[in-house]
């Protein structure tokens, strides 16, 4: 429970710090870089190493590569549908999570299982 609380606080701080960095820069395309910052990984890996060791954390990082490819598919879809097709923002960004899940688990099934 203590570890979970620690993860919550550290994760909240790191993620909101990167989100704030994104507010500081223009143009919006540059600010968007911080939306794909490795904030969860930075908050998690140190704790993961101390709790489970380096090999465990390195294995998480290998899977994170599949998550990053799925993230690319997700933001590409959001770019296409909001920037070019003028669709509803919340509907696109929320339903796109299904694309992330299917891409990430598809890559897991093919390469990591």
């Amino acid at each position: 429970m203590r570890e979970l609380l620690l993860r919550f606080i550290i994760g909240g701080c790191v993620v909101s710090s990167f989100a704030t960095l994104g507010l500081l820069f223009k143009p919006k395309t540059f600010a968007g870089l911080f939306g794909a910052a490795p904030s969860v990984a930075l908050a998690t890996l140190g704790l993961s190493v101390s709790a489970n060791g380096r090999v465990f954390a390195a294995t998480e990082a290998r899977s994170m590569m599949a998550g990053a490819v799925a993230f690319f598919a997700y933001v590409s879809m959001v770019t296409w549908l909001t920037g070019r097709e003028n669709r509803n923002i919340l509907a696109v960004t929320s339903s796109g999570i299904l694309l992330w899940l299917s891409s990430a688990f598809g890559l897991w099934y093919i390469f990591l299982r």
Partner: protein, 140 residues
């Protein structure tokens, strides 16, 4: 395109917006830890690149644009263009995210965690920046 640094933009966001980002970031980080504990590092690692904060961030961009230019049709269009631009930047950032993960995977078993995270973060920013230069050319 020239990069501009605008520290006063921090004041344009409300406490509610900061709280939402903190809450979502905390929940995703804690959730990724729980999933790794329950299903192991192979499944848990996937969620280290989960875009949970993105829908909230996009909605906050929309709210900020509405505050700046009222909720007219042109204000809606501006929000869609801004979210599209933000997502295009995130696409460049995801190339860096992939590099970050690859660096950690390859060097963490050999080097210290702090050294690994510094090198991987530099790798993330370097590749993201290169990706942004490419995307910025197509975006205009």
């Amino acid at each position: 395109m020239k990069i501009e640094f605008n520290p006063s933009a921090v004041a344009s966001a409300t406490w509610r917006e900061y709280a939402i980002r903190f809450l979502l970031g905390g929940l995703v980080t804690a959730g990724a830890g729980l999933i790794a504990r329950k299903f192991g590092p192979v499944i848990g690692g996937l969620f280290m690149a989960f875009p949970a904060i993105f829908p909230a961030a996009a909605t906050l961009i929309e709210e900020q644009d509405e505050r700046a230019g009222s909720s007219t049709k042109s204000g809606e269009h501006r929000a869609q263009v801004d979210v599209g631009a933000d997502a295009a930047g995130a696409a460049a950032g995801s190339i860096g995210l992939l590099a970050f993960a690859a660096i950690v995977w390859r060097i963490l078993p050999t080097y210290s965690p702090s050294f690994t995270l510094v090198v991987a973060t530099l790798g993330w920013f370097g590749l993201s920046f290169l990706g942004w230069i490419l995307i910025d050319r197509f975006w205009r």
